[in-house]
Symmetry: C3
Subunit: 349 residues, 3 copies
């Protein structure tokens, strides 16, 4: 492993290695307030402590994606500081809720790696896990990243490409302890459609668009302790691939999730992410829109009052989504920037 601040290069990774990330990060109500100001998310679970208690949480849980970004951010210095691209996610499960005052730490296991034919870079596969201050797992996810080599001639390990699930089974998704929901309370979510009102194949245009500002995506990315240089440094990025700072892909995920409230008001929390692809980069000045498709649905085995919807949420830039810009084969509509496949928990109304 290389010096602090320089990050690891492709030849530094070995399957089986454990990387410890630092420092731990205590999330507070202040972090949640910033998250609200940055994205405008309106899902009732993260908006009202009274509503959250009604669902069976002891207090208002921190937004699932704020937890994801915090754990992800922790992993950047050791995993992706020298990354060329963040290629994909798999098997991301939100195992336990996180509350204001909880302290998250993270570690990563290297699952495998494979050098590229040009010998200048390679793909590294890792699983990162976040823990609270009691050592309980709160989040786990796999991702794969294209990482530069320090030296083209460096020796590299034999290729190991791990098998990763294409989707999480609904039975592996978490729910709050309480099973019976209060109908009166459910009228406070702002949505009238519940689990049974959605059908596989339904498509929803989330209607609103929001324009990204440099100050916003940088404040968000710093909040997550994510230090990837391409997000912060206009001076060097002027000479980079795009001539300007690139928005952290997770920022776009959070924008899309916030937009999805229009039509998915009862998607009360994110239960897992099956796969995600940052199809194209996002820059300050872009206006992000989103639409979703119901890919699958599964009643919760253990909770009669809950079900899971598997969604594909597609975000596009500078293009409204009323006609659902998509892909044909492997070719995406040029406006598409994100294609996210994930599970949300929705009450049965």
């Amino acid at each position: 492993m290389t010096a602090a601040g320089a990050g690891n290069f492709f030849e530094d990774f070995r399957a089986g290695q454990t990387l410890h990330h630092a420092p731990p990060r205590t999330l507070t109500g202040g972090d949640q307030a910033l998250y609200t100001a940055l994205y405008g998310a309106r899902f009732a679970t993260q908006s009202s402590v009274e509503f959250a208690r009604g669902l069976g949480f002891p207090s208002m849980p921190i937004d699932d994606l704020l937890v994801f970004h915090t754990v992800f951010g922790k992993t950047v210095p050791e995993v992706s500081l020298n990354a060329i691209a963040n290629l994909g996610y798999a098997d991301c499960r939100f195992v336990a809720p996180v509350y204001a005052g909880d302290t998250l730490s993270a570690r990563t296991e290297v699952l495998g790696s494979r050098e590229n034919a040009n010998r200048e870079s390679g793909i590294v596969y890792v699983r990162s896990t976040g823990f609270n201050q009691r050592g309980e797992e709160v989040l786990t996810f796999a991702r794969w990243v294209m990482v530069r080599k320090r030296s083209k001639d460096a020796a590299v390990p034999s290729a190991i490409v791990p098998e990763l699930p294409r989707a999480i089974g609904a039975d592996a998704l978490r729910l709050p302890a309480k099973t019976a929901l209060n109908r009166a309370e459910l009228r406070q979510t702002g949505g009238k459609r519940f689990f049974d009102d959605y059908a596989k194949g339904d498509r929803l245009d989330h209607a609103d668009g929001t324009t990204v500002e440099e100050a916003e995506h940088m404040m968000a990315t710093r909040l997550y302790h994510n230090t990837a240089r391409v997000h912060f440094n206009a001076h060097t990025e002027r000479l980079g691939r795009f001539g300007k700072r690139i928005v952290y892909g997770g920022h776009v995920i959070s924008i899309a999730r916030a937009l999805s409230y229009n039509g998915l008001e009862n998607a009360l929390f994110v239960a897992g992410i099956n796969a995600g692809r940052h199809v194209a980069p996002c820059f300050a000045g872009d206006t992000v829109y989103a639409w979703s498709e119901i890919v699958d649905k599964a009643p919760a085995a253990t909770h009669a009052d809950w079900g899971f919807l598997r969604l594909r949420t597609v975000a596009a830039k500078d293009r409204a989504c009323a006609d659902f810009p998509d892909k044909a084969g492997d070719t995406y509509d040029p406006a598409v920037i994100l294609d996210l496949d994930y599970w949300v928990a929705v009450p049965r109304g």
Copy 2:
């Protein structure tokens, strides 16, 4: 009422209807910190928990205008998503203080409506009320809004235009329970002028100016869960009335209130808003200045140590206010953007 996300149109409103807004919103110290960072308000009541306790509050109250914006924001999806203009406010009373941890919900009664002669839009009159988690009223206000019709031919109800008070009587304004104030503590406010030092007709230039940024007004407006599209979407607003995003009018109110600290340091809280007019739109890049006039004053009937000043605060853009830019008859100085008539509570020194 129409589908979630699409908002109501003029023909959807009927006098007597009650609209329930969602989701509830728990305000925290994090929201208050953001409010401070966005406006730089320095009134001692919302700056020091020790000072607030000295006034008789159990802890530091959330800024009155943050409460107003939160309740207002809640009402947007059902009241003003399809508004052409927010025409006015009346009888806005801050009934009970709100503290960090309180959860606000809101509902709106439709008071009346009147179609415009062109039959493409009309004016809707509503009263919105905010409640805390115990169901206690914290804020109530009337407003009227010009709203588009979905269809020019739609049937509309007969015109009903409610009578609204032009000003709140001082005896309807709230004060903290404690009546005797501590002179030593009052020296901590930063101001030397108290209730008895102001005279009707006094004019005060608030001196400072502050330039509005896109990231700031959007973060503020999202913090308030206000989803009105014109504030967020540069892509569509490029083709809109002004060619760019419009700043939420409440953002200008909060800037003007923060600027008014210079000269009104002891205006320790806002007790009520009699009327308000957004004379012209504000855009990112504009620099906002403000001045105030003492329109009326009333010692508090129940609290010997307090009085109320009725203020008219006028905000202007890209123009210093040392010479009090104003209106002549119905014609405003072209720099004026806000004309706000409200009551503040001021100790008798």
Copy 3:
């Protein structure tokens, strides 16, 4: 002293005067969250409540520089509202930690003053001190400022130039009560170098650069209740010395401290500031880099597990610091904007 909002001019200051600043300011976890979002500081002490407790703090202390900026901001209306330049700092000692919920107040003693030869301005020397709600001193620092005269002909006091220490002795620096540190916990800081791993004369490039945005520096400066006009008003600054808003010098100090985590991960808190010079102004759009030199080191007399490093951290704009841009005699590299001389506390590993 002049009217509220107008500030003091050179001829208003007299050695021996005490200036009381207002209003007090309660710092919360929300303020700390904003500080994190604005700078991305990752030092473990201000990131994890569990880690802070392990060091012997009862809870997570507010970032030292947030305390500094808050006390500094309080002093602006009475000390530097009419300043032409903030010339220097001396003998800044962090006397006691500050925690979320503490309320800071500030007062300033005028140490002396000296009129400039042109009789249009002069230098004022002050010592400002911050107190918590129990009246305990938390921070003290001297600074000197060039302040305009209201009138060239005004009478001024005889020149008094105070003696100020060029550096704080290491024995005057504070440490947490606990003396024995936990080795396992120290692995969570993200750094492998401890006190004994640094040598006098070592130079460290902090590698990253971060671009400053108008919305960010204004939100920061308002968070500190700092009202100096040059930071906020594009309308008047268009006609000012630089044609644009100037970034608060303390914002650059906080950026440099956050960047210094790369290489100084175990500099767990700032113990004192010996001297600081804002060599050149910073503007939105500038990208800030930094490097540090170990100027001195001193094991703590009272705590076997701690030592103090005296650092010189130099920040530059739009120029990477791999080759340590510096000064030759009194002439700085044109990219340098900050030269800060301060003590940090570092565990002995």
